[in-house]
Amino acid sequence: MSNQNDSKEKSLQALLQGKLSDTDAQSVRSELEAEEQRAKVFMETYLQQNSLERSGIEKAPESLRRRIRAIPVQYERSGRSLLHLGAIATVVLSIIVGLLVYHGPAPDEPTPEEIDQARRELIIAFNYLEDIGQQTSNYMSREIGGAMEHALIKGIVHGISEEPKNG
């Protein structure tokens, strides 16, 4: 048994050192994969026998959950420039002004407070949208390419410009 283990260990070491032929390496790999199944059965049986099957992943305690969620408040990242917010606010205000000009005075004109409130909500919404858009855009440009990114942006812009007409 010990000799068998020694010889197994030698072949594993040779695999790690790249000293095996392709055929031999593949044979050792297949053996390891077969063992994976046996090891899985052993672990599962052990966990099951000891009623541990549900204890694999621990739930983070409430104190940790609070500490992690406090990180963005406690550690403001310097990288997030106000330029971004300024740009978004400019875009939002341009859209509002554009829409007002386009539609002209409405029969039931909102009060200045309502307009301010709507503007604030729009800025918040755009802030979220920008965050998601930036992540999506990065992913798209990497994974799918410029064409999809263009289509996505076009879709969002189209959706935004359509929104007031529907409402």
Binding site: R29, K40, M43, L47, N50, S51, P61, R67, R77, Q135
Partner: protein
């Protein structure tokens, strides 16, 4: 809160905490390590790709834990464990489960690195081979061979503890 950050917190905070708990075997240290990991994520949020964030988080968590273990060994020697299972079962069952869990955690603790991380990442967390390669910076062959050795050692540890 930033959407990307909060999503990654909601998705992986339990995984990060569990890995830290298995490596450090101390709840307070595991919380500190998990918080440190997420602080590093916050500082590098724009560089971390969403789809690779899990591997990134677990790799950082592991390195953070190993640093802490090195410091701990240097400063205090071996720590006392306070790793326990939370359970809603009756006290007897809960106690038994706790003892069995402690036995498994103890056996895992006796493994050297990277065997310990491999068992936690593969057999406890059920991460894929590819994820483990990234987290531990190992080749596919190394993952397979080291995992084989890790399980062999763990099996021996468990049998030894049970006897």
């Amino acid at each position: 809160m930033n959407i990307k950050f909060s999503t990654l917190v909601n998705l992986y905070e339990n995984d990060v905490y569990t890995l830290a708990l298995y490596l450090l075997r101390n709840k307070s240290d595991a919380e500190d390590a998990a918080q440190e990991t997420y602080l590093k994520l916050w500082e590098n949020l724009e560089k971390v790709e969403f789809l690779r964030a899990k591997s990134w988080l677990l790799r950082v968590a592991r390195n953070t834990c190993l640093d802490r273990l090195r410091k701990r060994r240097f400063e205090y020697g071996s720590p006392s464990s306070d790793m326990q299972v939370e359970s809603s079962q009756c006290p007897e069952d809960s106690l038994m489960q706790e003892q069995q869990h402690d036995r498994l955690a103890g056996a895992i603790e006796n493994l050297d690195e990277p065997y310990r991380s491999l068992i936690v990442l593969r057999d406890i967390h059920q991460n894929s081979y590819r994820e483990i390669e990234i987290i531990l910076d190992l080749t596919p062959d190394q993952v397979k061979v080291y995992l084989h050795r890790a399980r062999k050692k763990l099996k021996a540890e468990l049998i030894e503890v049970d006897v």
